[in-house]
Symmetry: C2
Subunit: 202 residues, 2 copies
Amino acid sequence: MSDMTSTADAPRSPGRPRSIRADEAIIEATLDLLAEGSTIEALSIESIAARAGVGKATIYRRWAGKDALLLDALRRLKGILAQPAGHSVRDDLVLLVGAIGKNVDPRAAKIMPCLVPAVNRSSDQFQLYQNIIAPRRQLMREVLRRGIDEGVLRADIDVEVTMALLTGPMLIQRVLQWNPDLDEQSLPERVVDAVLEGIRTR
Amino acid sequence: MSDMTSTADAPRSPGRPRSIRADEAIIEATLDLLAEGSTIEALSIESIAARAGVGKATIYRRWAGKDALLLDALRRLKGILAQPAGHSVRDDLVLLVGAIGKNVDPRAAKIMPCLVPAVNRSSDQFQLYQNIIAPRRQLMREVLRRGIDEGVLRADIDVEVTMALLTGPMLIQRVLQWNPDLDEQSLPERVVDAVLEGIRTR
């Protein structure tokens, strides 16, 4: 297999040539292998290189190792972070809750649950997983704190538990199909309204 | 391997001899194979029989097939259903929420997350999974309805969403270790109190 950098090099900030096309191929290969059932442990730079049609050196020029590559690949899979408009606390929460577990990429449904045992087995994988979800938690935390500052939400609410109340129902429904009697479409609004009922200023 | 029924037969209601010791060995073998990483699809009556040291016929005398055996094995793994005392709605909810994702058997942490992809792939597995969790949902539903009848909870609350609010945070924290900043020990009480704040009679 030929190294794609030779045909599609592009300038890169710290001076080293970088191929966006090779990056794409490497990330796609990583996601394909995971979606086909490879565990994180079994995934190797060698197998990714072979699948992407690049040399191992090409991967190591771009990523420090497997964990850095996985982080980028899984971030890509999870899509772009939803951006709250900042006008209404309720609207912002409905947007953020609606984005939970909603993966545009069909490979995500195969890849994400399989990460759980890996995450529980290894502290490296746990860190990788936290690196992906921490920014999403932070967005929600900021909306709640803004609500408190604006006097829409009570100042004494338990912010971390409120985040779990907003996130948990959507996640168990979308990932585990927890309760067949729950309508997924209306769930973000119903969850946000039920939670707001307990935390809004009276 | 000898068929254990020959040494440990015991009377059984519909008249057929039944060995409790063989039952145990078969269920333990099933859970061991799953905990060691076998997928539900890969699991066969043959491999279970070999592991348990019984003949395939012994298994088929007790269970109609793999799904019936799996249901019994996974029920065993999840432990006995928590029984609400029926005095205080808050105490009953704390008990039920505290039991969520709390598996006494250490094999459960390895087995349960791996079920998710199987559950999403097959409607048989989805039914199996629902058969295990539906009775737990029903216990919680009954406590909430009792609270409404007793006037402790408002009559207009969304019972199914409330169940998801009570279950989701505990499940994502215990199974996914969702937020390292959340203390698992105090979570059941904090979740129940936060939810009650929104649903209690005012």
